[in-house]
């Protein structure tokens, strides 16, 4: 049984993270964002709270993960109307929680759901929202957030003048850490007159057939870019990945060319990765790509151009033809 707290009695001034639960399963990106928020909480002496909207507690598949999380408290809102994700109702519920608990900060993982939900809340409360943040720090008692911007190699640091400070945090930008103490679990009791109504009706759900890629948590990544020349060459990366126990990643142009699914895109428009070893075949290393992989422990670049940015940032760069080297590798490894 959960301890029940009336909406108006929620503790104030916390740092709150959105715990995305879809069809009974917590999206682990919500656990990722707790890692930097815990640090911020420590610096500012604020409690870290995870808020989850669900229709029933007993159906949650990975409750264990929540129990092990870094959160100091977990607040559940439980109502059968919350079974489906409906952004208008979900936003209204969260707006009520923000109004009563006046958090210092409110953060979302930049999932499709998070990015659909957070702006509705920002609009309703007339507050700022920073997008795709991949680093947070406290400076002069203020949360400063960094996000990459486009076209040129520019990193912008942003603040939000309104409270709560709100942002969506890039997927994979932080790794999951676990806490020492189990968080306090509470159920928020909404006032009787709250109307649990949405204008949206979810008529059908078709899950993706393919399993989502494990890119963001992969230990080894073999990635390919335009320098691999064609789809056929690109497909050979899957053979190499199989041998090395790696995942396959890609740059945006090759995803758009249809050499591989967009789920494998690494970078600002795709996934952020931090493997132990990253190998880039024929990738130039544009900022939009490198912000997604720069925290890899060991970077290998294979490129014909000595001046390519990825060659410069690599721990090991091989100046040569990516296709030839890939073919030779496969030949040697299959022996």
């Amino acid at each position: 049984m959960l301890e029940k707290v009336e909406l108006e009695n929620l503790s104030k001034g916390n740092i709150v993270a959105y715990g995305e639960i879809y069809r009974g399963e917590l999206n682990t990106s919500s656990l990722e964002i707790l890692s930097p928020l815990k640090e911020i909480g420590k610096t500012l002496n604020k409690k870290l709270v995870l808020v989850c909207l669900i229709d029933s507690l007993k159906d949650i598949k990975n409750l264990e993960e929540i129990r092990k999380s870094l959160a100091d408290e977990v607040w559940f809102v439980i109502n059968e109307e919350l079974k489906d994700f409906r952004e208008d109702l979900y936003a209204e519920v969260l707006v009520k929680i923000i109004e009563s608990s006046q958090p210092y900060g409110f953060f979302f993982p930049a999932t499709k759901i998070g990015m659909s939900l957070a702006p509705r809340i920002a609009g309703a409360l007339n507050i700022g929202l920073c997008a795709h943040v991949n680093s947070l720090e406290v400076k002069d008692n203020q949360i400063v957030m960094a996000r990459p911007t486009y076209g040129e190699n520019i990193i912008a640091k942003l603040i939000s003048k309104s409270t709560p400070v709100m942002a969506t945090i890039s997927l994979g930008a932080f790794s999951i850490k676990y806490g020492i103490e189990e968080p306090l679990m509470k159920e928020i009791v909404f006032p009787k007159d709250f109307v649990w109504k949405s204008k949206l009706k979810i008529r059908n759900f078709t899950p993706f057939k393919k399993k989502p890629t494990k890119l963001s948590t992969a230990k080894v990544i073999v990635a390919g870019g335009r320098g691999l020349k064609n789809k056929e060459n690109f497909q050979k990366l899957f053979e190499l990945a199989e041998i090395l126990g790696a995942e396959v990643g890609a740059t945006r142009p090759v995803c758009y060319e249809g050499w591989v699914e967009e789920e494998r895109m690494i970078g600002i428009s795709g996934v952020i990765v931090r493997p132990k070893v990253y190998i880039g075949f024929g990738i130039s290393g544009a900022l939009q790509h490198t912000v997604g992989m720069e925290n890899s422990e060991y970077i290998i670049a294979i490129n014909t151009d000595k001046e390519a940015p990825l060659v410069k940032m690599a721990n090991l760069a091989l100046i040569g033809d990516a296709e030839k080297i890939l073919d030779l590798l496969l030949k040697k490894l299959s022996k």
Binding site: F85, S116, I127, M313, L316
Partner: protein
């Protein structure tokens, strides 16, 4: 059916983006603007709905006067009317201040059945404007929509989330952002309309035409602020090896062993 409104944004041609060192926002006035590529997909959706339901399509854009050619292009693609939302007071808007002006303009165009937007811009790339505008209008929003049709006067949308696709039913009005991969084929503009638009100019609405709170506009009405812009420096830190492919492949195998990726 009531009208469909499409919001389009002029974005700097990739590679030409400059930051104003003083306000730390993107310099837009001096730039060559192109139509945000994702908005092309929203216009395609509008064109297809227009063919099916014979509805009126209005295209609007908030930006400097150099977005007019883009509005005209959008007109030739699928619109019946163009509106430019332009005022010095709008400069430096973040997503909240942008959504505020868009919501006021859309409200002025009521009643409407649907607002179409791109998933995200290629400059700010926040993807926040569509849901934020809907929230300010007090109407529902859906993002990443791949298909859209009417059934018994209700919108049926197929939208993508991280887990799969949902079919959602909602009564109009509604704001949606269209998935960049919604269509396999995008139709070119009609020749007739390309000629027709030459003699047309968009309606221009300024701040005074929209019943706006001046506190909520532009840079000063934007709660998010860029405090620092820094260029990323790339330093050489590793080993660069040249050689024939055979030698390089051998070197890679060595590293694979060293890192424990392969045994032999």
């Amino acid at each position: 059916m009531e009208k469909i409104i499409v919001c389009i944004k002029g974005v700097p041609k990739p590679g030409t983006i400059k930051v104003d060192p003083e306000t730390r926002t993107l310099k837009r006035e001096s730039l060559e603007l192109i139509l945000n590529p994702n908005d092309r997909v929203a216009l395609e959706m509008a064109g297809r709905l227009k063919n099916t339901y014979n509805t009126e399509v209005i295209v609007i854009s908030m930006g400097p006067p150099n977005v007019v050619p883009l509005l005209k292009h959008a007109y030739a693609l699928s619109a019946d009317q163009m509106i430019l939302l332009s005022d010095k007071a709008f400069a430096g808007s973040d997503t909240l201040a942008t959504s505020y002006v868009l919501a006021k303009a859309i409200k002025k165009l009521s009643p409407f059945s649907l607002v179409l937007m791109g998933l995200k811009s290629i400059d700010g790339e926040t993807a926040q404007v569509p849901p934020e505008t809907a929230s300010l209008l007090g109407i529902p929003s859906l993002t990443n929509v791949k298909n859209l049709f009417l059934e018994n006067n209700k919108w049926i949308a197929i939208r993508e989330i991280d887990y799969g696709e949902e079919e959602v039913e909602v009564e109009p009005p509604l704001v949606v952002s269209i998935s960049p991969t919604a269509f396999d084929y995008i139709r070119p503009p009609s020749l007739k309309k390309l000629i027709e638009v030459k003699s047309k100019e968009p309606l221009v609405w300024q701040a005074k035409d929209l019943d706006l709170d001046p506190q909520k506009l532009g840079l000063q009405g934007s709660p998010t602020q860029v405090v620092e812009v820094s260029e990323k420096k790339i330093e050489a830190k590793g080993i660069i090896l040249e050689g024939n492919p055979e030698e390089l492949a051998e070197k890679l195998l060595e590293i694979f062993k060293e890192k424990g990726l392969i045994r032999l």
